[in-house]
């Protein structure tokens, strides 16, 4: 699913990834951990096809990221710190726009919103008026409506209440059961260690696998 060998990614002239080796099989849940600035966010964005890999090998979902980043993008789902949602549009409009952009079925959009508890009063609220947790739920709804093959989640538990965090874990387990692969970063170590099949530690732009 994911194969990196000596992958270098630059942010400007800063080598955020300084030669990452990483192999991840299908249907696994992998936890990325490491101190702030270790390169976790850059690694997730690289796997999503957003950051250019300047050296090494990088293959995601069978696509070589060095030659073709675009075709990977539609097949992954990235939950980032930044939401990309339009503040002035309602929750329903936002989810409908982003999901339909990715050619999701209308029934999947409705199901995703119901799953995240966005089908009631919240539907018609502009995203700009939501709390951080509600925004995160909206982003998650956009993500699951697309049915990605590879889920990339940057601290998915942050900002959510107890129920929301449980819901995230449940969604991730269902996703892998349905054949998807999940890579997440989290500072909620107890919860994530229980969830994850394997743990990768990132430090100084280099990855080491914990056995």
């Amino acid at each position: 699913m994911v194969h990196l060998r000596g992958a270098v990614a630059l942010l400007g002239r800063f080598p955020a990834l300084a030669g990452v080796d990483l192999d991840i099989d299908r249907r696994r849940i992998v936890l990325l951990r490491g101190p702030n600035g270790a390169g976790k966010t850059t690694l997730l964005r690289t796997l999503a096809g957003l950051v250019h890999v300047s050296e090494g090998e990088a293959v995601v979902l069978g696509v070589d990221l060095l030659t073709d980043r675009r075709s990977v993008r539609q097949r992954v789902g990235l939950l980032a710190h930044t939401t990309g949602l339009y503040d002035e549009l309602t929750v329903a409009d936002n989810v409908a726009f982003w999901a339909r952009a990715a050619r999701a079925e209308r029934s999947d959009v409705d199901a995703a919103m119901a799953r995240l508890g966005l089908d009631g009063r919240l539907r018609t609220v502009p995203v700009g008026r939501l709390s951080a947790g509600q925004r995160r739920r909206t982003s998650l709804a956009c993500l699951i409506a697309r049915r990605p093959e590879l889920w990339l989640l940057d601290e998915p538990h942050a900002g959510l209440d107890q129920e929301g965090r449980d819901l995230v874990d449940q969604l991730l387990r269902e996703a892998t059961a349905a054949g998807a692969t999940v890579i997440l970063s989290s500072h909620e170590l107890d919860r994530s260690l229980q969830l994850a099949d394997e743990v990768v530690t990132l430090s100084g732009g280099v990855a080491t696998r914990d056995s």
Binding site: V8, R13, P15, A16, A18, G204, G205, T208
Partner: protein
């Protein structure tokens, strides 16, 4: 000298070389000859008087300014197509030198206009479209000099550069129509297009040679300077990677 990918390119090691020193020397000699013929040996014009001498600089400057624009668009196209950093810097050098010569064209044009027309500025088609050319070039340079990463600056500037020549052509066309549909351009017709002969023609010819040599010298040096600047910026990547990896080792010693 056309590179395949930016990394394989061998660029200049310094701004000067034997060839450019010869080029610079030739440019100086040509400028000397231009001064001799343009200011001393050639006669004053029958209708324009002494101010005709400005034309020996004005006309060649306008010409090389357009050549610079052409280099910018050509370089931008090749950069977008082949990702060639070499050509991107050619585009940048072309735009900067073209800006210089556009300013020279405008200033000499206005100095010529004061005794000829009695005012520094008239809304003449050529003068107006040269002013628009300057604004278009300043737009390109504003994007190229953005405080951002090289890739960001280069790519956005290349789109602007790609459209530079089409824009210049459209602006020229529209300004020509704009002036000619309502009033005939009478002012310039007794200036530039009147007969020029003998020493005056030779002076203009010398002007073309001298200004072209100066243009070439400036392009080569501006390109080399930009190339060396980029080299300095991209140098130290290996060191940066090593430093970055060292963070990991420190982390392991003190978890």
């Amino acid at each position: 000298m056309i590179p395949q990918t930016p990394t394989e390119v061998t660029g200049p090691a310094s701004t000067g070389s034997r060839a450019t020193r010869v080029l610079g020397l030739l440019a100086l000699v040509a400028l000397g000859v231009l001064v001799l013929f343009g200011l001393i040996l050639s006669p004053a014009d029958a209708s324009q008087g002494e101010s005709v001498r400005i034309m020996y600089v004005h006309v060649p400057s306008a010409t090389v300014a357009y050549i610079g624009c052409f280099l910018t668009t050509l370089g931008s196209i090749i950069y977008l197509w082949r990702k060639s950093r070499w050509w991107e810097l050619v585009a940048y050098a072309g735009a900067e030198v073209a800006t210089l010569f556009t300013v020279i064209t405008l200033v000499t044009g206005m100095l010529w206009g004061r005794p000829t027309w009695g005012v520094y500025w008239v809304w003449d088609a050529r003068l107006t479209s040269t002013a628009m050319l300057l604004l278009l070039l300043l737009g390109y340079l504003a994007v190229r000099r953005l405080p951002a990463d090289y890739e960001v600056r280069a790519k956005r500037a290349a789109i602007v550069g790609l459209l530079l020549v089409p824009n210049v052509m459209i602006v020229r066309k529209s300004v020509d129509w704009w002036r000619t549909l309502h009033q005939k351009p009478t002012l310039l017709s007794n200036g530039l297009d009147s007969k020029i002969e003998g020493l005056m023609l030779f002076s203009l010819f010398t002007g073309f040679i001298a200004i072209s040599l100066v243009f070439g010298w400036l392009i080569v040096h501006r390109f080399r300077l930009a190339w060396l600047e980029e080299q300095v910026e991209s140098e130290g990547l290996d060191i940066a990677i090593a430093e970055r990896r060292a963070e990991a080792l420190i982390g392991e010693v003190a978890p």
